[in-house]
């Protein structure tokens, strides 16, 4: 039997402990061990961004993080974005702008968009396209995703006033 390591971390603001093998990715532990299946596996090698989570505030492909590495870290997943009965403005704008079709890439895009708007509340279209280039979408042609991020920026600016 493979020996497992104990890891204590914080996910979506709550302390979480789990046991894992060294070879298990953060994505695998989130999905299989902790039941947080909102982060999706599209390629398992860092080329599609469907598994994007925030690790200490930075967007990362959770398939390229070992679960044993997150001891003491702060992790935000798609499940942690909406804090109360309301959707986060980015989630709401994705719905209103029809920025999803099959929806499999959506959690990853929303997490990357959050990371972007946390840093740059008013990004240019080029900046959005550049910063979201690590997230692949095959359905939408990206157009409505870009509009949704632009609209999110406006809405979040309005809320912060």
């Amino acid at each position: 039997m493979v020996r497992k390591t104990h890891v204590a971390t914080t996910i979506n603001g709550e302390p979480v402990e789990f046991l894992c093998e060294a070879r298990q990715s953060l994505l695998e532990v989130l999905r299989e061990t902790l039941g947080l299946t909102g982060s999706k596996e599209g390629c398992n090698n860092g080329n599609c961004g469907a598994c994007t989570v925030l690790l200490d505030g930075q967007p990362v492909d959770s398939c390229l993080v070992l679960a044993v590495e997150v001891e003491g870290a702060q992790i935000t997943t798609i499940e942690g974005l909406s804090k109360d009965s309301r959707l986060h403005p980015i989630q709401q704008c994705f719905l209103e702008d029809a920025a999803l079709q099959c929806g499999i890439c959506t959690p990853g895009f929303i997490m990357s968009a959050k990371a972007l708007l946390d840093r740059d509340p008013n990004p240019s279209e080029h900046a959005i396209r550049f910063q979201l280039a690590g997230n692949l979408c095959r359905c939408t042609g990206y157009d409505k995703i870009i509009r949704a991020v632009q609209d999110s920026a406006k809405r979040m600016a309005g809320q912060n006033k």
Partner: protein
Amino acid sequence: MTPKSERKKYKVIGTRPIRHDGADKVTGRAVYGADLRLAGIVHGKILRSPHAHAKVKSIDTSAAEKHPGVLAVVTRADMPNLKNKIADLGEGSVNLAHLGANVLAHDKVLYKGHAVAALAAVNPHVAEEALKLIKVDYEVLPSVTWVMDAMQDDAPLLHNDVFTKSMGKRASKPSNVPTHIHFEKGNIEEGFQAADVIVEREFKTASVHQGYIEPHVSTALWNQDGHVTVWTSTQGAFTARAQTAELLQIPVSQVTVVPCEIGGGFGGKIAVYLEPVAALLSRKCGRPVKMVMTREDVFEGTGPTPGSFMRVKLGATKDGKLVAGEAWLAYDAGAFPGGVIGPGAMCVFSCYELPHAKVDGYDVLDNKPKTQAYRAPGATQAAFACETVIDELAEKLKIDPLEFRLKNAAKEGTRRVDGPVYPRVGLVETLEAAKNSPHWKSKLEGKHRGRGIASGYWFNIGLKSSVAANVNNDGTVSLIEGSTDIGGTRTSIAMQFAETLGITAEAVHPRVGDTDSVGYTDVTGGSRTTFATGLAAHEVALDIQRQMRERAAILWECEASQVQVEDGAYCHKDKKLTFAELAGQLGHTGGPVVGRATVSPEGASNGFGTHLVDVEVDPDTAKVTILRYTAIQDAGRAIHPSYVEGQMQGGAVQGIGWALNEEYVYSDQGRMENASYLDYRMPTALDVPAIETIIVEVPNPAHPYGVRGVGETPIVAPPAAIANAIYAATGVRMTELPMSPPRLWAAMSTGKKS
């Protein structure tokens, strides 16, 4: 474009409500195939061939079976012996013996990535370790991965029981060409004799993949009572059930397929791969077995769309009238017969009024994964060839390429080369919308820049759809439909239902049923779902409306025929009840109201689009930048315009990827060298501009709301439009896809031709 008066007619259609499954999808709660959690679930993995073509002499699984944590191993020996039998998959048909041999290889492996054996273990890592312990003895055979090589007499033969069928006759010698298709109209010789200008060119395209972000995934439980339940990512639960039952040689009643949320399909999630294998593993170990493909498995083991070689010849008179067209098309089918040459041959000249035409099409076997449908299967390749030649003819005739298309555009009464005569269609309207668009009217300035135009066509197939509905006493309706929802069809179907019944879109709760909960429904494919399942939903609404009138008649002690429906409310003399008020009274007027409908619209209707693109070509690196892009399409009637635009934008960008960079790169040994998203190079957000859209509405006479399917047409025009724009920018006519930088640079550096 819809006149304002018509728009006003509708309360729901043409609006943009939030999709019903939206909150689940933006919060990560929606359950896709891989998200399924069941007690006692174990994990299956597939061993795949490292060779493109080899005899499988023996498979030794004994070491893997003994590996700790392994619960079951299966090979071809565990599959029932399947006879040749043709099964209809909705968007094409398949021979079950071939499908079985694709799912688990029999005596030969026919492509790198071909499944050879499978096992289930306590976790995916143990399963992967154990795969390395399966010993397969191969005798490697020569392989072939280019369609024209595969057609040669001395090419490596994939199957010794495949004989060319041509015009009803079977050849005597086995070959790699299962089918030769031939269509003809008019008299081709006479046609070309009447031509003042003739252009003939040859084209090549590489295999490309559908590229859905969700890998194939299936979980099966072969229960101790003998019933098999399969949770899967599929475009059609009923076809998945039929294929699984046939491959396992059990009755369909013994199989339930539960369609999970599906992370993209584009035609590639119709044939089964994992479902029967997971079921076999589950039967052996008595536990639910989940199987998820890796991205490499998806590229190497599932449906690309054909690589092709095409020759297209078109003739026109001096005044710009097309008189004759001839096409010779060879598409690869991959490892098993039944590629998409049929629709390719039907579509090649589908945009034009062509008095004389002849098309020959060949389905060709080679050592690639069995090709599958990909968004307008076969049409994109053909349009690349035809629309490039059209552009060159227009240039030779010194006629504007848009005007040339308008002059020759297919319209009501045009007979396609394969026989059908078009009813009212909207190609001319898309060309006129293109002509009047801000994009076409804008001036393109700057060096190394060019503008291109191309049109595209695809069918809307009919097929079978079922919808059921339950009226709730608060005036909402639960709608159960058989079409899996890949891009928002729950909502476009619910909106048609709501419109007919006179309630809001939000008052409908649409749900995709499993194969035990709803009537038989064909695949989500062929641009049919909003069209055909929408039609079924409309009929369910009429059924409910009829029953609700009867209930009102009971309340008011009148005849049902005396109850009028006005604006969704039920009226008789001075009495009036809204739908919700009446729904609240069902309990004492006879109990629940349940509606149902099944439809099977005959034949296919037609969708046309025209695309405009501006490009800039870097003169030193030959890299193409898309500066501006406009997609115009006849949607018949746009039910939810945002999702219609989304289909147009998504298809355009897939087409841009196909045009510029996507391809299967093969080694000399027939191995795919770029089986990852890193090297397969699908467009990122940074590779494309905003995609402008213009929806044209020429109502479909075959649908009560005039719906035309919109899903597939948008991928057809882009490669040709971009090739024409590249020509305008560089003077180089590209005749090979993808028009990747090395290829375009080579063409630009060698005397301005490809």
